[in-house]
Symmetry: C2
Subunit: 197 residues, 2 copies
């Protein structure tokens, strides 16, 4: 394979990048000055080599323990459980949540052979053991069968420990319309309706 085809091949491995986009991106890279490719290649290497999983919450981190876990100003009483590291940034952007996180790195899916040992369940239980201050675990999982199963499994483990277990609300998104909201979401929105006061 010539270098251009090899670059297209590598770019095509990225999610959402088909052969056409990969070709377009490769030509773009070739059209930039060499400094661009050097910085780009170095950024890929550095990010992958200098990033590991936080020993405590399993978020990506350049240190042994991540910035959030070492932040002394955060609320020691809550842990928010997410599926992937990429779920944390959008939750942080909201600004109102000041507790800690725990990244499962997957959801339970018996059909795909993913049980509690394949995701970071043990780590969560260990954190709860060492951090007795935790009073609430909030699940912020993507709504799906696997999300529900994971939530159910974990809540059964957590409730006996006397911990409050909650989930984020699912419903019609702000800016959305009843008319164009899918059946499942509308079902959830009805089911989770709130009392007007």
């Amino acid at each position: 394979m010539n270098p251009l085809s090899r670059l297209i091949f590598q770019l095509g491995k990225l999610p959402g990048v088909g052969e056409k986009s990969a070709t377009r991106l490769a030509y773009f890279i070739l059209n930039q000055d060499p400094q661009f490719s050097r910085e780009f290649a170095q950024a890929i290497l550095d990010a992958r080599e200098q990033t590991r999983l936080c020993r405590q919450c399993f978020h990506f981190s350049t240190e042994d323990v991540c910035e959030i876990c070492t932040d002394t100003k955060r609320d020691l009483g809550t842990i928010c459980v997410v599926e992937r590291p990429s779920d944390i940034a959008p939750l942080e952007r909201v600004g109102s949540y000041r507790g800690f996180y725990h990244v499962l790195h997957g959801l339970l899916s018996p059909m795909d052979g993913i049980g509690p040992e394949q995701i970071k369940v043990k780590g969560l239980l260990e954190t709860l053991k060492t951090r007795e201050s935790v009073q609430e675990v909030i699940f912020a999982l993507n709504p799906s069968v696997e999300g529900d199963a994971t939530q159910l499994y974990l809540s059964r483990l957590l409730k006996p420990l006397g911990i409050r277990v909650t989930q984020v609300a699912y419903g019609i998104p702000l800016g959305g319309s009843i008319e164009f909201t899918d059946r499942q979401t509308l079902g959830k929105a009805l089911e989770n309706r709130n009392e007007l006061r």
Copy 2:
């Protein structure tokens, strides 16, 4: 900037990759084994370092003269003029064109200060001087004001040399419908109508 932010920043420089996509791609890269990033980074460096412009047609090439220009089975009588190196692959895929190419690396655009010296016009004239076998120059430029201007400028230079100057047909794309074809395209399609035989 930490390594993850730096990777997101670099990915965000790619065309069509906004901050959201860049973040998604960066997380994907971090989730792969280190081998993935090494191969990816190397592919970027190799492609950029080992690729130059063909001395003859200005297409990307790993050699001094590209594969197409050195192909002895091609038709010496025609040169197809394109704007960018990325225009060549789709034309080659058609399979019916067996002549040579010339990449302009831009289009004339006086408004943006792009005159004949800023694009590869001189190279085309030199090729025509050394290759007396050329009887036809086909323009395959993206339809635009700049494309038209470039075509007009070049055809005025080429016609006095006794060279046949043609352009690819512009019209309703196959699979397209009259109903949903834009005004400009329909205009071209009417203007360029062909006699039924």
